[in-house]
Symmetry: C2
Subunit: 451 residues, 2 copies
């Protein structure tokens, strides 16, 4: 720890500059106009891995490029594969940002930028940790590989497509996913499972063009009305998702699992931290169940007609909705997608043209909580923080992780020092150097503990 | 007619240029960033009225300016007041326009531009008609006034505010509102009533910021879900508006009225012209009732979360809705507004912060179908077209008309040569010179027939 610490302080300024440079790429993977920025960012990542003395390669995919890297110690040693992503979420509502999302800005010890945490900040401290080990000439007890993709926020299309071809090059005993949260400001955590996800585009079309609400009002069936009537049917009066068969395959958690993964926060916490006034989910379920063990269906986007300043007396031609589900073990995203489409078709208001399309899906996963890697990360994080590491499940999703683990034959452990209050996926995302340092120490010491 | 026709042909090129210049102002009254454009447009209108040999004045208001003008023949003669507006609707979705909305473009004999009909095209032919009478030295049998406002599409805030101060200057026996549709391509019409309107902003807030649908999904009550659940309650299963008391004051039309104002088109027309697949309104009511005699409630805008390309797994802090009603005689917009707010409060999903605000309201009106002005416009339009003029009611609203008529002591007649297929309030609004000419002749001959 001492030598690592000295190395870090010595290189502090340079690391800060490199971090900020990484954050300046507007590598928004889900919006086509940022394609070049995403590509430039991938090249930067490859160059940085080379600086960390890895053999790095940029792999083109049908989507955005992937960066893989390797530092081979010996064919007889086990291999750990470190996964992260260099792409970021969109930035709207842009007006809510206090500083430009791609101009990293330090305020009160925090770095504000899109990707400050998720996942540029986190994968960057992992790269820096490996660089420190190399520059300090500390012997690696394992082979280390990196797989840093460019579309985690856009369904990992590229990685999924090329995975069959490159999986042998990524083969590893352990998969360390550096894209998770800490337990709290000072307590480390490892993540041993995540919910799956399913995302869908929906639209209802009522006419070939927008209509005047005076001339056609009372005549045309308004798609905005149709979509609220249709979507309101998605939930029953107890808050359950009303889609037929939705819960059929849900694997109820065992008592052991409920004990191993206690609910981190009560409702007070959510009210205080996020200003949540109203709680959703199914009646009669605990927050723990709602957050970790139950599937959800959310309307992530709703749009139709005119809703800018002022008023426009329009009956829109079309209303659109974006829906996603968080899935739990044994739900199959493909099956759930079919069930939702069947439900929407069955309840589609008369005469509306329904378009319903699954955009992407990924299964949930749960890993061995006491694998060699899990124990190493836990010990390293305890050394870095002086606090007992918590074993956790995540309510969120890292779609490609289960797939990557299966393809490369690896055990999975998720680690990270993000916090739910870091505004990831929201305006004013931020991280701080204190937690950045904890991540750096944890990754470096984890590798050393894998001997 | 002959002399007017010769004059029009002689000035055709100049009039086309002036018309296009008028259309080039992006005089969108409901969006604050266009304030200067609206003002410049008002100055242009004043100058044009002076060119028509009127005494014209630009009157500043708390909103956008108003242009009034007068040509006094004699204190003993009656006065006709011509009303129109130089402001226009917003232009989104801008991508659906085939040519720029503020670059008037002629294609197949049609002029495409925002305001080509509504109402720049229509008020412009009225100005040109008065200019022709002046340049031809034809004696006016009446005093003529103009009142051309700059925020008809934004609730006539300015005109309403200054009306008490200027109403004596606008006093008239007759009010000619040049902002209506013809019966069809070749048949003229006069409009003797319009529905009232009420517009409202609604929002539901669930948290202080956008939330991650994985980390808070299943915990937070999603405002998008809340708004669909709330809005779905606005209608009962027969398509009636479910707001308590909504229909209490509705004046049912008399048999005479139903006969005087027959429904213009059957449902086939609406399906063919607008591609309407689905009909709304109340079960058991005819299209005529739905379109002219019944009040409506429409969701004109619905927005929450992310609905651009790609996907964002967000639970939005807030979902918004824009609602408007078309009202019929004797409904009071203030009372209806209170009833809707009470309904929304009563049914607001638990824990959501409801904001519900009335933006504007105006009563419906119905005028004397056989007033002196009504008969003059009918005769003039029959002379221009060779077709019998139809007496009509409009399902749309001209909020300020009833107010202006009451304040100035005038009978009301609406005229115009718009058509429901002109895409007014929608992308690719257009007008044609054939109907422009019919408007020109009708206004000029109406004035002459008022002797």
């Amino acid at each position: 720890m001492k030598a690592l610490s000295l190395w870090l302080e010595k290189h502090r300024k340079e690391i800060r500059e490199d971090y900020f440079q990484f954050l300046r790429f507007a590598s928004i993977s889900s919006e086509a106009e940022y394609k070049n920025e995403v590509h430039a960012c991938a090249k930067w990542v490859r160059a940085y891995l080379e600086k960390c003395s890895f053999d790095a390669e940029l792999i083109e995919t049908p989507g955005h490029p992937l960066v893989i890297a390797e530092k081979k110690v010996s064919g007889n040693k086990p291999t750990v594969l470190i996964y992260g992503h260099y792409d970021v979420q969109p930035v709207d509502p842009i007006d809510a940002w206090e500083s430009d999302p791609f101009t990293p800005t330090e305020r009160n010890g925090r770095v504000y930028a899109r990707g400050a945490v998720d996942d540029k900040g986190q994968i960057f401290y992992a790269m820096v940790a490996l660089r420190a080990l190399a520059e300090l000439d500390r012997p690696l007890p394992v082979n280390v590989k990196f797989c840093i993709e460019g579309e985690e926020e856009a369904n990992s299309v590229g990685l999924t497509a090329v995975l069959p071809k490159i999986k042998d090059r990524l083969r590893a005993e352990s998969l360390l996913v550096v894209d998770f949260d800490a337990y709290d400001e000072t307590t480390p955590a490892i993540s041993l499972g995540a919910r799956g996800i399913l995302s869908m585009d929906i639209s209802l079309t009522g006419s070939k063009g927008d209509l005047h609400s005076g001339l056609c009002g009372g005549i045309a069936y308004n798609p905005n009305r149709a979509i609220v009537e249709l979507f309101a049917k998605l939930y029953d009066s107890t808050g359950k998702v009303a889609v037929d068969g939705f819960y059929d395959d849900v694997l109820e958690p065992s008592l052991e699992e409920k004990k191993a993964y206690p609910q981190k926060h009560g409702s007070d916490y959510f009210t205080k931290e996020f200003g949540i006034h109203a709680f959703g989910g199914e009646k009669g379920r605990t927050l723990q169940e709602a957050n970790l063990f139950r599937p959800t269906l959310e309307i992530n986007g709703l749009g139709g007609g005119y809703f800018g300043s002022g008023f426009k007396t329009v009956i829109p031609a079309k209303a659109i909705g974006k829906i996603s589900c968080r899935l739990v073990p044994n739900q199959d995203p493909k099956k759930i997608g079919r069930q939702i489409i069947a439900f929407l078709e069955k309840h589609c208001p008369h005469g509306m043209k329904l378009h319903a399309e699954v955009l992407s899906g990924a299964k949930a996963y749960r890993a061995n909580p006491f694998s060699k890697l899990a124990n190493a990360v836990a010990a390293a994080s305890e050394e870095a923080t002086g606090k007992v590491c918590q074993r956790m499940l995540s309510g969120a999703s890292i779609p490609v992780v289960a797939e990557l683990a299966a393809a490369t034959g690896s055990d999975i452990v998720g680690m990270g020092y993000g916090l739910a209050t870091d505004q990831i996926h929201a305006p004013n995302e931020h991280f701080d150097f204190r937690r950045f340092d904890l991540g750096f120490f944890t990754v470096a010491r984890t590798i050393e503990k894998l001997s």
